[in-house]
Symmetry: C2
Subunit: 479 residues, 2 copies
């Protein structure tokens, strides 16, 4: 118990300092380490295993919807980045520039990709000739670099890992459908695998991706009530197509510009998992995405037969398709309990001499700490059922947290009062004007998160300026 | 037939110009495209799918041998790269330098990683405290950058994709065992999955990796008799450990330096597959690694029932665990035959109205063009058996090619004569001196490939200088 305390006491309580709690978890659960490259992190094995599970699942969903993976170069020549005006304005201030190769100065600077629209555009302009070549539905998994001033592990770093989908279509309608299809893929993934409810909506012009006609987003709410943009899907129209001369011959042999989308999700999702589900003992991982779903911990392992039985149970659980491991190190059981709580392993299986006599073991849930005694015979069915139960309960708790921190405002004063007392989502009507959006930011300290696809009518006028309202919008404080 | 000719005629015959044949295949099979980033390529979906199959298989082998994946930063600060003297001398001349972030000049230049030893060293120095923390067996999948002057797709490009394993151990013996274990993993993978026999051996001091004590290699022989280094495994001793102050407390609580290895294989393997198995019709892919193992092509697809039966057969083959697809486009069967031959799909299934009447279809092997008539009932067992047969036959042909192009020399004159008449592996004894190695390069135009682990005694003296021989060595012309 003293040992347990020691390990756990190194995490700051989330009620005392949420930001410090987050940083502590990220370090103590051995997810990241800092390197001497400022603003860049090392993904340690546990975070990388979690990311690989995210990748595997999302990649499967992309392939099911007809997408293929490619790999584009890491670099973008300066003149290529500059071809689309809005895009370069958005990204140029935060890119890293390669100026020398070996000892020679390059004739043209290369930026390290902050995102790869320009490379995909150049490629599509070359390989698409006719309507028969469309659509092209490509994706790549890679890291990108944005020279941010302030960084936080997973949430904002100079290098981060992501996937970026880039598609071209023969018609606007197909491209718009693709934009929504991928938004829905992200939402489904977050809700079903990460147990994280998300709000789907359209970004305002101010928050739109550089070069896009429309940017859709999924917004999640963290424990502290702040919003985390967790994935975006952009409809580009033919803006890039005109800048990059991306034309194809349609069925009447007439040249047309392609219609384009892009969409991305990143290692930010790991930050989202931590801040949606974590508690003061550490990580709490959703079973469907956890690298280890169950850990077997023998109690009084030195007693005859205990280790053997523990290994037998491990084998039974693995045979039921569960990602499980056993800890046979010479640390005390208490130390191990704390360690796997810190790492958020959804289920712990304890088995000792007395359990063995009675033909049973104890399963402890990470999320509620609830204990269930299970007979050896029932183990292979009880574990998958419990894991599904945990998954459901975690989603439900996150949904309830979001509900409890969602407010409605009918005036700017009300917005300011809510923002002063709480952090959460604040719904209101909006006229659609930038001036009102900026006023909410200045006076209530909240940015627009999105105009939800599921609209509600909260009134007829914009509560900021009093002009006719166009949309319901959600405001919040964002990571 | 005219269509088929048209497609195929665009590949140069390998007997006329092997290099042009290679370039043609790489383009016509839609494996790569060039971008405006000089010396960097785009991995198109077909090459990327092949690489993902390679990754999945190798990654499984790494995990079975206890390795974990991590992700290190893309950048290395200049002072970190310089810590190990031999290493920086080897790599500094060919790295790309980032000098600016956004509009600001960096205080210290960052190189884009050419390989990540230095980053792993810094990390291990931080996270390993005692013998209990060892070994650390890490790997990462990423791309690296080397500013090469002349480039060729897959074989040498400024950016390439690879994996790099980096491990630290408590003892020299464990590190040496790891070095050999991973060399054997590579050899097993190449032989069993890529159907490519490899020669395992030790590199000479001249050819050693910058900073290593010993570099082991697997060398494959291409169609044209040239050698392709296909994977390397390095034993570092404690050289990096001393440079990076990587110490741990042993069981007696005495500080010791760690013993280290690294090992890597890259998208070069795709080049190796092309040049080991390809022919004048295009790619020939080993079934175990092919993205598509079988393609169904309906003949006279407009006739009633043909498309339906073709799809039924596709489903049957897929249900047998085969990666299969169907081509229902309106191209002619002849065009389709040529297209999938170009792409090296191991088996083609043809089915037309007459076949359906007789309850059978035709399977055509890509490697030998042999046709087999198979009844519908036998299909699900015939296909996996045929694929295994193709895999074996491809390995056997590659082995025979290597045997036919392996020579033995007992004098420098003999070496020169062989090299003038043939391209292949030339075995000889060697005294171990750099002077003799350089003389073979100058006078016979061959570099040392490796000192094979399986040694033969071809004589007692070095055929170049006449001094006592130490080892048998293999010479060749390398990619």
């Amino acid at each position: 118990m003293a040992e347990k305390k020691k390990l756990v006491s190194e995490i700051t309580s989330m009620d005392v300092d949420f930001a410090q709690w987050y940083t502590d978890i990220v370090k103590k659960a051995e997810m990241i380490d800092y390197s001497s490259v400022k603003g860049c992190v090392i993904m340690r094995p546990y975070a990388q295993a979690l990311w690989e599970n995210i990748q595997k699942t999302l990649d499967g969903m992309f392939k099911e919807t007809g997408h293929e993976n490619v790999a584009m170069p890491l670099f973008i020549p300066e003149n290529l980045l500059q071809k689309e005006k809005d895009h370069v304005e958005g990204f140029a201030p935060e890119v890293a520039w390669v100026t020398h190769g070996g000892s020679e100065k390059l004739e043209e600077r290369l930026c390290v990709r902050p995102t790869s629209e320009t490379l995909f555009c150049e490629h599509y302009a070359k390989i698409v000739r006719s309507w028969r070549d469309l659509p092209k539905l490509y994706n790549q998994w890679c890291s990108v670099v944005r020279w941010e001033k302030t960084t936080r592990p997973f949430l904002r770093s100079r290098e981060f890992w992501w996937q970026e989908g880039h598609t071209v279509h023969a018609t606007e309608q197909e491209a718009r459908e693709e934009t929504m299809r991928m938004l829905n893929v992200y939402a489904t993934f977050c809700e079903e695998y990460l147990a994280m409810p998300v709000l789907k909506g359209l970004k305002t012009d101010k928050e739109r991706f550089a070069g896009a006609v429309e940017t859709y987003t999924i917004e999640a709410m963290m424990h502290d009530g702040k919003a985390l943009q967790s994935g975006t899907s952009h409809y580009f129209g033919d803006g890039f197509a005109r800048a990059f001369d991306m034309q194809f011959a349609d069925k009447n042999n007439t040249l047309q510009y392609m219609h384009q989308t892009s969409w991305g999700a990143s290692t930010r999702l790991i930050g989202a998992i931590i801040m949606t589900h974590g508690d003061n003992e550490g990580l709490v991982l959703p079973p469907r995405i956890a690298p280890v779903q169950l850990v077997v911990i023998p109690v009084a392992a030195h007693k005859p037969g205990v280790t053997e039985k523990a290994q037998e149970l491990l084998a039974a659980v693995k045979a039921a398709g569960i990602r499980a491991k056993i800890d046979l190190s010479d640390n005390s059981p208490g130390w191990k309990f704390a360690e796997y709580e810190m790492k958020g392993v959804p289920l712990r299986l304890e088995v000792g001499p007395r359990d063995i006599e009675q033909g049973q073991c104890v399963l402890v849930r990470r999320d509620t700490r609830e204990k269930t005694v299970v007979s050896f015979a029932e183990l292979a069915t009880a574990v998958p059922a419990l894991l599904e139960d945990i998954q459901r309960a975690m989603f439900e708790r996150a949904r309830r947290n979001r509900e409890e921190h969602t407010y409605t405002a009918h005036s700017l004063d009300e917005m300011k009062q809510i923002a002063a007392a709480h952090t959460g989502f604040v719904k209101s009507m909006w006229c659609g004007e930038l001036a009102c959006e900026e006023r909410v930011k200045e006076e209530a300290g909240m940015s627009s998160r999105c105009m939800p696809l599921e609209q509600e009518n909260l009134g007829d006028v914009c509560p900021i300026c009093g002009k006719p309202a166009k949309k319901m919008i959600v405001w919040g404080v964002a990571y």
